[in-house]
Symmetry: C3
Subunit: 435 residues, 3 copies
Amino acid sequence: TALMPAYATNMRMKFPIVALALEIITIILFAVFVVYDDGKGHGHGHDAHSNKTHPEPAQPMELYPMFQDVHVMIFIGFGFLMTFLKRYGFSSVGVNLLLAAFGLQWGLLMQGLWHLEDGKIKVNILKIINADFSTATVLISFGAVLGKTSPVQLLIMTIMEITIFSINEHLVANVLEANDVGASMIIHAFGAYFGLAVARVLYRPGLKNGHDNDGSVYHSDLFAMIGTVFLWMFWPSFNSAIAEPGFTQLTAVINTYLSLAACVLSAYAISSLVEHRGKLDMVHIQNATLAGGVAVGTCADMNIGPFGAMLIGLVAGIVSTLGFKYLTPILASKLGIQDTCGVHNLHGMPGILGGLAGIVAVALGKKKGGDAAMQAAALASSLGFALVGGVVTGLIMKLPFWGQPPDQNCYDDSIYWEHEESLAHADHSKNKAEV
Amino acid sequence: TALMPAYATNMRMKFPIVALALEIITIILFAVFVVYDDGKGHGHGHDAHSNKTHPEPAQPMELYPMFQDVHVMIFIGFGFLMTFLKRYGFSSVGVNLLLAAFGLQWGLLMQGLWHLEDGKIKVNILKIINADFSTATVLISFGAVLGKTSPVQLLIMTIMEITIFSINEHLVANVLEANDVGASMIIHAFGAYFGLAVARVLYRPGLKNGHDNDGSVYHSDLFAMIGTVFLWMFWPSFNSAIAEPGFTQLTAVINTYLSLAACVLSAYAISSLVEHRGKLDMVHIQNATLAGGVAVGTCADMNIGPFGAMLIGLVAGIVSTLGFKYLTPILASKLGIQDTCGVHNLHGMPGILGGLAGIVAVALGKKKGGDAAMQAAALASSLGFALVGGVVTGLIMKLPFWGQPPDQNCYDDSIYWEHEESLAHADHSKNKAEV
Amino acid sequence: TALMPAYATNMRMKFPIVALALEIITIILFAVFVVYDDGKGHGHGHDAHSNKTHPEPAQPMELYPMFQDVHVMIFIGFGFLMTFLKRYGFSSVGVNLLLAAFGLQWGLLMQGLWHLEDGKIKVNILKIINADFSTATVLISFGAVLGKTSPVQLLIMTIMEITIFSINEHLVANVLEANDVGASMIIHAFGAYFGLAVARVLYRPGLKNGHDNDGSVYHSDLFAMIGTVFLWMFWPSFNSAIAEPGFTQLTAVINTYLSLAACVLSAYAISSLVEHRGKLDMVHIQNATLAGGVAVGTCADMNIGPFGAMLIGLVAGIVSTLGFKYLTPILASKLGIQDTCGVHNLHGMPGILGGLAGIVAVALGKKKGGDAAMQAAALASSLGFALVGGVVTGLIMKLPFWGQPPDQNCYDDSIYWEHEESLAHADHSKNKAEV
């Protein structure tokens, strides 16, 4: 045991106990609170409309294809997007699965508690879409601290963040009655600034000059493109899943489809403009091409016109790419915010842009019944909950007994994953096995 | 030709002749028996309900999104799950495609023969879902013998296994009238024990001490995670595709979604508990996280409660992970069952667990009209057909002229795939090309 | 700057300016011409049926799952299919995203201009499916010139090809009133021969003896299989997306499903037959297995019988595999057509086969109201527009200021992508990082 460093030994009991305890507590809470939806409740519409009854017969599986698109974004999209690091692919896709699998259970409870029917949470497709959504906040924050945190720390972040998210979501949707159909504010901006606050609290001066493993190799960048492209393709489902059925939902699909398409062109153009010799940078392509989906979120179901959606996407692609190039290094060096995946550029700034676009669009009367002041309050609320919640969560995560990796083992799967033998073996058989 | 070993030469005529002959025979059988569904038959419900007529107008495409989810599980899910081997990725995803493409045609015939209408098999979406299902049994068995069999042997296994599966399926669904909506018994347990019986008959003493190529490299494990995550995400579709439409189908989705989520937590926890220094093992994450989908299959459309589904998932994750760690080595060393992918842990034990859970759930009245004795008979029938069918099939596959690989060429694509030049080339250009 | 070769410097301003200018012009055109569909137009059926009004209430999201399948084919399918080259994965999936994202916007305009309602293009799901379709032509042609063209050249090709495609599509569907539901003629044959004509004009004698980077490595072939399998799985959606709803659409799904399944068997059989020692060749598996989807396209919604679809698939798999083996080298050496991906074998010949099968099927009365002469005219028109359009486009692309790569830098991402540091880094950390 002299050969085993303390940090590794620590995981042995801590992680299994935390994971099993959380799951068992969750199952008990489900036994008390959760039942199947039987179609006899108050309706199956969007949360914001849950007070009105639907006269038409319920079609419980109507949203299921949308749900599966969102599901793919959460598990393949976010999971593989983060596999760009050369030595951290197992953790990226594996811990993504762990956090999302726990998070969706916790999200079902936290979101459901605000909408009890006869003291019960009645699960249906809309609720599991929203549960998947709630995990997105955690996966965004995960991107900010990727490579520098242990699975135990991240499970703690999952509980904290989803709980706080559910409070803010309730405030925004039900108290302020603000519009945020694609969740630019309550998921993207919230998740990004929550994660950045956590990253600030967990600042590691030892990584100030970079880390050998904080980079990609050729094939890790291709794995990441699987995540990018699935996110890009299914984003129209993300932004329209809980929209009002019919032509409003169609509007949300079309706005998102067009915003993303325009965003690709501007992200590629700016990437080429700012890189040496006009080349493209994979980091920009993997991330900034998605900013149009984030930024059009709040306005997705509004009557902003197809060209309006494209303008939002165009601006988002520019802002996001410039952020990766110029802002992320400054955040790290000046503010002590080490944002591994650059979530500030993909979710943070485009999320705020989405919120601002929503304020303008509502002020211009693009959404019946909208109120620009409430939109602004929703943005402020999301940012406030994110920053305060992130700092508190970061302080808890900073406690020294959660198995966090030492600086030299950051961005390295081998600290939490058993594959030394595989590595040794592969080195041995390199000439024949590796290509 | 002195340089060409006999086993390789053998493939040249055998494989093309077998493959083309099978396809031509199949096309002739289709010409005789298969027509499009025109909506004028006896109804389009689940097999077990095919006697009642549906008064409502048929919607022939209603199940299509479900079909596509299942299709992805069969071709991407199973195909990539098996790419974890460092030198056997072409065969895993390529032969998976071959077997499934032939199997679905054969399955359409074998399943359809039990339900002829006017002497014809009327193809519709439900039938092609069931055809895809029938191939799953073969792909599960493929996992048990992966790396140790030739494409010709595997085509033979496909014909035999799907034929036997279709008999057992008919017995279970139409004679015993047992419930198995997610096919824990008739697909998962059946496919696993069929494959294990084949593996036993094809036992290779020469591989007793392992094989250099029977392991993964870093990126092969990431390719396998593509398979894992797609299986995990779309499993709710697998378990609900042929459920009764409406709220019963919704129940099947929710039970599977929750069982899988709980299973992830227990699989991760137990993996960390049993591995050195509390680390996670990729083999467990790739496989045991899916056991919850298998185990909740039989009960998926029953009123077991969301927490009941989660309990089943929790137990399945534990059983499966422990199986990989402790049981698989014993099966190999004591019983001569060399189970390459550990299908006993992912499909075998969780399939039996699912069958047992179904017996208990039906006994507790969780399914209207169910009969616990018939559930037990269905489980026994599935295991019996699997073991006897597997032994017979294994004996046929053992005949010495099907091009099976010698021990030293097991787990190696280069015996059946043309890529030496590519390899040579890559070695040459290693310094620039490989990262 | 003495160290920067001229070709690379050239990209710096050209690409950003071209990309941004195109996007801004497109947004202006959208502002003038494009509005959301509000359901008050002349109906939402297939173009060919757009004159009849639909009495039933519009369901604007009905085709959305189909659209998402097509979307996956365009962005994952085509994108990853082309990642087989060992050093060109970034360009394959990245430039695929760029061209498709721009192409769908341009396609929406070009296709929509033929069907203005009150001077406007009303976007709905059918229109974005067709916009995605229009990009497929470009992505097919991209395969012919892969590795030998710059992003600027390819953007030019996108504008030209989609414009010409839209004219031919209008002619075939609305003037000739020919049937081509799965677009064997107007997309596959058109895209292939357009690309081959461009490739001919851009003939590079310097690549006559091959190129070090014009080949695959083990894992690049696995990435390509992601593309292959997604294309294979979702092809039934491609061929049925715009079919008449109901049983006709079901027919298109079943014909495509069965044609593809039969095609797999014949592609594998012929691959083994023609390769050394009966082995399988990854190039054939990645491509020829899909020829059945192409070839059944025109007939997909016709009453050709399930076995008829299988026969078409069987023949397509044979023709395509033989083409890869024997015809592609001849085209390169004798005709100066260097077809990087072999699109002639996957899209060209199977597309013509599909067109011919359509003529025969219509002549045999398998499609109500069809006219064999019009089918033949449609095939001729598609080939004519493709060849003439491709030559003109190739001449424009050949102008010397579009940043095209010199011969020695062909098939190499590093000319357009910033990843030298990553490569240098990876070489440095090879022993630990690469497996």
